[in-house]
Symmetry: C2
Subunit: 448 residues, 2 copies
């Protein structure tokens, strides 16, 4: 039986980063990653919506296995089916057994499959991470004439925009909530995204669900809650993901409120020799300390950097997930960091808003400049910035990262008003109308 | 005689922002800006290199006067020639006298005119901020066949690239130092910028100065220190700026080591009723507390936000200038925040470097992705991040701003390694290879 100091189960975002982090902090530790995906078959997770449109094909969206080999990490391809916590071993479906000193679970998440009649029909599928299935789906998608996407969160909206690009089909998104991207954005930002999608000829039906999917072997239509019917030769489901906690459950590990594997602030599960990170792990909100449903590749890697560093001593603590989202449709981008106004109110904060519309380059008339809107959420009681939303051009996500940095440091609106930002005509807003700084000033005035 | 609670001298970046800040924090305060520029004649300062190329003309590069009027700030056009500190009045060249409660000096800087023989020839000029002179220069520049730019700092390099675009002339930069942009960047980043400029057919001559400018009334050639001669029908000088301290000196205010008007951390001059901000004010380095030669529009506005808030009580303190630079040539951009490796060593820091090359989108093969290099400077003693340099695409300057935010908060490499960044395929690097986070991790390993 092979024995490793650290065994990691999972090969997507969290697993490899946990492994690299172990090797960075403990160069001599022996590390094994066990994963189900064959050689050169691990998808870049957030790249999946783009494989048929912008990126071109699944084979252009691979996390290279050299990430493991160049860092001296061993790879075992197979499905881990059992953890024996007493003997500290993992067994795979092929019957291979490996011993561990510490085990890191990075088993990811599984797409939610809603209980809609007709889900079993051909050409109906949630967004999958499986390279083979994606390759199988490619010609079907490219030939489709009518595509229905269920769910207008980030994955749904990105998939819709990209399959439109790949197929030229009629693409319609069906969303039960009032707006697209509503869990991540306030309505005015959702509205901007909806306008952009509409301009790109993506149909959007909100406040309506799918009652049934119809067809004869293959899907041919979708019936909505209000009785309307939509033609469909492909149905894509993007309504979220649920932690893949099966192996952990079977091993008797504690499971959290959102079905993630319970972990403490050191990413340690209820077994002191087992850590968990990424989509499979239970998350805590940075702002409220309560369980959080956030599942993002970025958060997965952050947790992996904590888990990987903590295998011998508790070097790193998880302060809870801030949550930074971004997406783009053409040259329009929208992003958010921390709490929306809506989420902040719901969490009981007394929220003060600062909002500034300017341009992402300066002067505003310079070629390539896009309008940029920044909204900051400030907690009236502490003065701290607890959220930001941005709509604009290609720099939108990095502006969200500037705000994320402010939030992570517990900066107040006063601190942010004195942010020592750099500016340049071709690359940033003007220092005079700088949106983050001026939104902070606005909020300050309101706090008084 | 008119009387204002706050009189501000200067109408470029710092003056208006100081005025707006006063009105934000003290809505009822009466505020007057005195400036020399006529209506709709104030240039966006950093936009000046772009007016003949990208922006098209000086009239497209105006700071709108509505910035003052919409904020209830009065404007007096004229040259302030005297401050009477006893009677607390300012007098202009036209003989108008205005009384002040507090006076804010935002008189800016003047371009350095080197003592080169031939400086007085026609078509030889430093980069000016005067709208009329710029309009006068426009046809001369557009018709030029051979242009020599003296100085390859940001202004020199940007001017060279833009006048090339506007005129199609042969453009050559002459720089005394070993590399372009050498005061802001380490050699490897300077080198990337030089390669980009060379590809854009800008001639670059380094480690060589200008001995004399020749011509008959009008310039026709430039003679270098090594004896070489360059044809030139236009010579542009971009070798820096010096604080415009004349009025302050005349009023007997204390002047600092770099010739800026001396100010304390509240931006107060040696007269408690007079504050100063922007290029005219003496600056202190955030890292060393020593006098600093940084002069940037961004810093000017930050100081203006401090000065403007401090007119009645000391609300804001200046921690010293971090210094965030950025520029772009075509779709290549380069930026820096805080200290370079060279500057950090010179200041006596024991510096540890983390450096990561990745792509600014992910997967790296996604259309539009540009290689992105991030270098972090970490102080071995405290573990704090004290500088960052970035080369890449359009998001480069905002990435520098993320690093600036980290520096401003005194984050250590360990803090930055756990940065809760957001990522998205079309907009940012991968969370796995995230350059800021991984550069911090690299530095940590070296610190041990």
């Amino acid at each position: 039986m092979k024995q490793y100091e650290v065994v990691i189960i999972g090969g997507s975002a969290a697993g490899p980063v946990a492994g690299i982090t172990v090797k960075r902090h403990y160069r001599d530790a022996s590390v094994l990653v066990i994963r189900t995906e064959k050689e050169s078959q691990v998808m870049v997770p957030c790249g999946i919506p783009y494989i048929f449109g912008t990126v071109g094909s699944p084979s252009n969206n691979i996390i290279p296995d050299t990430l493991l080999s160049s860092n001296g990490i061993d790879l075992l391809i197979g499905e881990a089916t059992e953890i024996d916590r007493d003997s500290k071993t993992v067994t795979t479906a092929d019957g291979e057994t490996v011993g561990y000193g510490k085990l890191i679970l990075a088993t990811g998440s599984l797409p939610v499959r809603p209980p809609i009649p007709g889900m079993e029909l051909k050409n109906v599928s949630p967004v999958l991470k499986d390279a083979k299935l994606l390759a199988y789906a490619e010609p079907i998608l490219r030939k489709a004439e009518n595509i229905v996407v269920i769910g207008c969160g980030f994955i749904g909206a990105e998939m819709a925009d990209e399959v439109k690009k790949a197929s030229g089909a009629n693409v319609t998104i069906v969303e039960t909530l009032k707006h697209c991207l509503m869990l991540a954005l306030d309505p005015e930002f959702s509205h901007m995204a909806e306008e952009e999608l509409a301009e790109r000829e993506i149909g959007i039906i909100t406040e309506n669900g799918v009652k049934a999917i119809h067809g004869n072997e293959k899907v041919d239509s979708v019936e909505l809650q209000n009785g309307d019917k939509l033609k469909a030769d492909v149905v894509i489901i993007g309504i979220g993901a649920t932690p893949n906690n099966e192996l952990a459950k079977k091993a008797g590990l504690k499971i959290g409120d959102t079905k993630g594997i319970w972990v403490d602030e050191y990413m340690r599960t209820s077994d002191e020799n087992i850590l968990a990170c990424g989509d499979c792990a239970e998350k805590t909100c940075f702002f409220t300390g309560k369980p959080s449903g956030l599942r993002l590749a970025s958060i997965a890697t952050i947790e992996a950097r904590i888990a990987g560093a903590n295998i011998k001593e508790f070097k790193r603590k998880n302060p809870g997930a801030i949550g930074v989202f971004a997406t783009a449709f053409g040259d329009f981008a929208v992003a958010a960091a921390g709490l929306t106004e809506k989420a902040a109110n719901k969490a009981g904060f007394d929220v003060v808003i600062g909002e500034v519309k300017t341009f992402d380059r300066h002067p505003g008339g310079i070629p390539g400049a896009k309008e940029s809107t920044v909204k900051l959420m400030v907690d009236k009681k502490t003065g701290k910035v607890i959220g930001g939303e941005i709509a604009g051009g290609t720099t939108t996500a990095e502006i969200a990262n500037v705000i994320a940095m402010a939030i992570q440091n517990g900066m107040t609106a006063e601190d942010v008003a004195l942010f020592q930002m750099g500016t340049q005509p071709l690359l940033t807003p003007s220092p005079i109308t700088h949106p983050i700084v001026n939104a902070a000033e606005q909020a300050l005035v309101k706090i008084g």
